[in-house]
C-alpha cells in the first residue's frame, strides 16, 4: 500500500467540518428560499404564513402541503415589472461581458508579452484593485462623474463641452462601474491562458507565411478560448444579480433583477415574492453555474 493511499483517508476526514458548514449555511438556506417562495404573504413578523411545522406530525405536514401555493410565481409571470427586470439584467450582463472582453483581451495580451520578470509585477498590479474595497471603487467614480465632478470640469476646461453633462444615474455610468469592478476577473483568466502559450507556435505560423494578424486569429485566439470562456462566465454570472452598482450609478427608471429583489424585500417587505424572484434568478443561472463548475474542475484536474 503506497504512502499516498495511507495519506488519503485522514485527508478525507478534513472534509467533515467544512462539509457540514456548507450544507448548513449554503445548501439548507436554499430550501428555505424555496419554502418561503411557495408560501403566502402575511402582515406579520416574519411577514409570511408559516408552512411546514416539522414537529406537528404527519397530519400537519399533509395540511402544509395543501397550502403550498404558486401564487408568487404566477405573479412574476403576470406582472411586466419582473419580466422586464430579468430581461434588463441579462442584457446588461451580456453587454458588460462583451465590453469587458474588448478591453480585457488587449490588456491581458500586453501582459502576456511582457518579459517574464515584469509579468509577475503586472499581475500584482491587476490583482491589487481587486483587493481594494469594491464599494470604495464605485464611490470613487461618483466623485468623478457627478455634476460638478472631475470629468465635467476637465471637459469644460478643454472646451469639449459648453455645459456640464449628466453622467450619474445613466446607463453609461453603470457600464463604467461594472467594467471597472469586474475587469480583473476578465484579465486574469485570459492572461493565464495567453501566458501559457508556446511562442514557438507563432514562429511556426510566421514561418508558414502567416501575417501577425492571421497568426493571431488562427493560432493565438482559438487557443485562448478556454480563458475567454472562464473570464466571460466569471463576469456574466455575478453581473446578472448585481445590486450595488446599478443602484448607485444607474437611473431608477429601469431596475435590474437584483434591485427588484432588494425592493421587494426591504421596501415592500414582501418576503415570499422576493424569494420567488430569487428562485427564478437561480434557475436562470444554473446552466452558466454548472458550466463554470465544470471549467473549474477541469482546470484543477489538469494541474
Amino acid at each position: 500500500m503506497s504512502a499516498r493511499r495511507i495519506f488519503a483517508r485522514p485527508a478525507s476526514f478534513a472534509a467533515i467540518a467544512p462539509y457540514l458548514w456548507m450544507v448548513l449555511f449554503f445548501l439548507v438556506p436554499f430550501g428555505f428560499v424555496l419554502k418561503i417562495a411557495l408560501s403566502q404573504t402575511a402582515i406579520a413578523q416574519p411577514p409570511y404564513v408559516p408552512l411546514f411545522d416539522l414537529w406537528g406530525g404527519r397530519e400537519a405536514t399533509v395540511a402544509a402541503f395543501d397550502q403550498l401555493s404558486i401564487e408568487n410565481f404566477k405573479l412574476l409571470i403576470s406582472d411586466n415589472l419582473y419580466i422586464l427586470s430579468y430581461l434588463r439584467s441579462l442584457t446588461v450582463a451580456l453587454v458588460s461581458t462583451a465590453i469587458l472582453l474588448l478591453i480585457g483581451y488587449p490588456v491581458a495580451y500586453g501582459m502576456a508579452r511582457l518579459p517574464q520578470r515584469w509579468q509577475a509585477i503586472a499581475m500584482m498590479l491587476v490583482i491589487v484593485p481587486f483587493w481594494t474595497s469594491f464599494l470604495i471603487r464605485i464611490y470613487a467614480w461618483i466623485n468623478i462623474l457627478q455634476h460638478d465632478g472631475l470629468l465635467n470640469t476637465v471637459l469644460l476646461k478643454l472646451h469639449l463641452i459648453s455645459a456640464p453633462l449628466v453622467w450619474l444615474s445613466t446607463d453609461t455610468a453603470m457600464y463604467i462601474g461594472i467594467v471597472y469592478s469586474y475587469l480583473p476577473f476578465m484579465i486574469l483568466p485570459l492572461f493565464a491562458t495567453l501566458a501559457k502559450q508556446d511562442p514557438a507556435l507563432l514562429e511556426a505560423a510566421a514561418d508558414l507565411g502567416a501575417s501577425p494578424w492571421q497568426a493571431f486569429w488562427q493560432v493565438t485566439f482559438p487557443l485562448s478560448l478556454p480563458g475567454v470562456g472562464a473570464g466571460a462566465l466569471l463576469c456574466f454570472i455575478p453581473v446578472v444579480g448585481e445590486f450595488v452598482i446599478p443602484d448607485l450609478l444607474a437611473g431608477s427608471n429601469a431596475l435590474m433583477i437584483g434591485q427588484t429583489l432588494w425592493l421587494e424585500f426591504f421596501t415592500n417587505k414582501d418576503w415570499p415574492v422576493a424569494s420567488a424572484v430569487a428562485v427564478v434568478l437561480l434557475v436562470l443561472l444554473v446552466a452558466p453555474l454548472l458550466l463554470y463548475e465544470r471549467l473549474q474542475h477541469r482546470q484543477l484536474e489538469a494541474r
Partner: protein, 272 residues
C-alpha cells in the same frame, strides 16, 4: 533567440497595458487626493487639510460601524481560513468520497453566486432558526462566502507541492497527521496567510450580504458608507475610504511578502 522577438514590447502592447492600468488606478488616486481637500466642494481645491479625518473620528456612529466591521472581518476570516484550508486538504489529498462532487460544487458556487441570493437565503435560515441578528449572523454569513476563496487559494498551492515530500516523511515513520503538520503545513503557510487576508478584505467590503443578515443597531462600515453615498458625496466618506485603502494596502504588503517567501521556497503561486 526567436522567442525574445515575440516577447518584444510593441507600441500596441504597451499602450493597452498602460491604459488598462491607468483605468484601474486613476479613480482611486483621485479619491485619495480629494480626501485631503479642505474645501467642501469637489471642484474647488481649498488646500491640504485633515479636516475630514477629524470629522470621522468625531462621528460616533461611523466609528461604531468601523469597529463592528473590523471585528466581523477578523473573526470570520479566521474561521474561514480554518475551514477553507481543511476543505482544500480534503479536495487535493483526500480519497474519492461520496458526495465529493456536491462538496466541490458547494465550494465553487458562492464564488460567483449573486450576493442578493446568498444574503436572502441566509437571512431566511436565521429567521427560521430564530437567531438574534447582529454580530454573529453577519460573521457566519461572511465565513460562508470567504471560506470558498480561501479554499481556492490554498488548493492551488497544495496542488503545486511535490507530494513525494509527504511520502518520504511517512516512509521515515511519520503517521499521516504528523507528516502533514511537519512537512506540508509549513509549505502552505504563506498561502494560508494570503487566504486569511483575502477573506479579511472581502468581509470588510461587503454591503449586500451584511445588509440582509445584520440586525437593527449593528450596521457595518460598508452599510453606513452605502447609505451615506446614496444621499450624495460627502468629503468625510473620502477620508474613510482612504483609511480603508491604507489598511488594505498594509494587508496586501504583508500578503505579498508572504507570497515572496513562498516563492523563495521554489514556488510561483500568487495570492489568487
Amino acid at each position: 533567440m526567436a522567442s525574445r522577438r515575440i516577447n518584444r514590447l510593441t507600441p500596441f502592447n504597451v499602450t493597452a497595458l498602460a491604459l488598462g492600468l491607468a483605468f484601474l488606478y486613476l479613480p482611486i488616486v483621485i479619491l485619495v487626493i480629494y480626501s485631503f481637500n479642505a474645501s467642501r466642494l469637489v471642484t474647488v481645491w481649498g488646500g491640504w487639510s485633515l479636516r475630514w479625518y477629524y470629522e470621522f473620528f468625531n462621528d460616533r456612529a461611523m466609528m461604531d460601524a468601523a469597529w463592528m466591521s473590523l471585528r466581523v472581518a477578523a473573526v470570520s476570516a479566521t474561521i474561514a481560513t480554518i475551514l477553507g484550508t481543511l476543505a482544500a486538504v480534503a479536495l487535493t489529498r483526500g480519497e474519492r468520497f461520496k458526495g465529493r462532487m456536491l462538496f466541490s460544487g458547494m465550494l465553487y458556487a458562492p464564488l460567483v453566486m449573486p450576493e442578493v441570493i446568498s444574503g436572502l437565503s441566509l437571512l431566511l435560515l436565521f429567521v427560521a432558526l430564530d437567531a438574534g441578528r447582529g454580530f454573529w449572523t453577519v460573521t457566519i454569513a461572511h465565513t460562508t462566502l470567504t471560506m470558498c476563496f480561501v479554499t481556492v487559494v490554498v488548493q492551488s498551492r497544495l496542488g503545486a507541492i511535490d507530494r513525494s515530500l509527504e511520502e518520504a516523511a511517512m516512509d521515515l515513520g511519520c503517521d499521516p497527521v504528523r507528516a502533514f503538520l511537519s512537512v506540508t503545513l509549513p509549505l502552505i503557510i504563506p498561502s494560508i496567510a494570503a487566504g486569511w487576508m483575502l477573506a479579511f478584505t472581502l468581509s470588510l467590503d461587503d454591503v449586500v450580504i451584511a445588509s440582509f443578515t445584520t440586525g437593527p443597531g449593528s450596521a457595518t462600515l460598508p452599510i453606513r458608507i452605502y447609505s451615506e453615498v446614496r444621499l450624495g458625496v460627502k468629503p468625510e466618506i473620502n477620508a474613510i475610504c482612504t483609511m480603508v485603502i491604507a489598511l488594505i494596502a498594509v494587508v496586501i504588503t504583508v500578503a505579498s511578502f508572504a507570497s515572496k517567501l513562498s516563492r523563495a521556497q521554489g514556488e510561483n503561486a500568487v495570492p489568487l
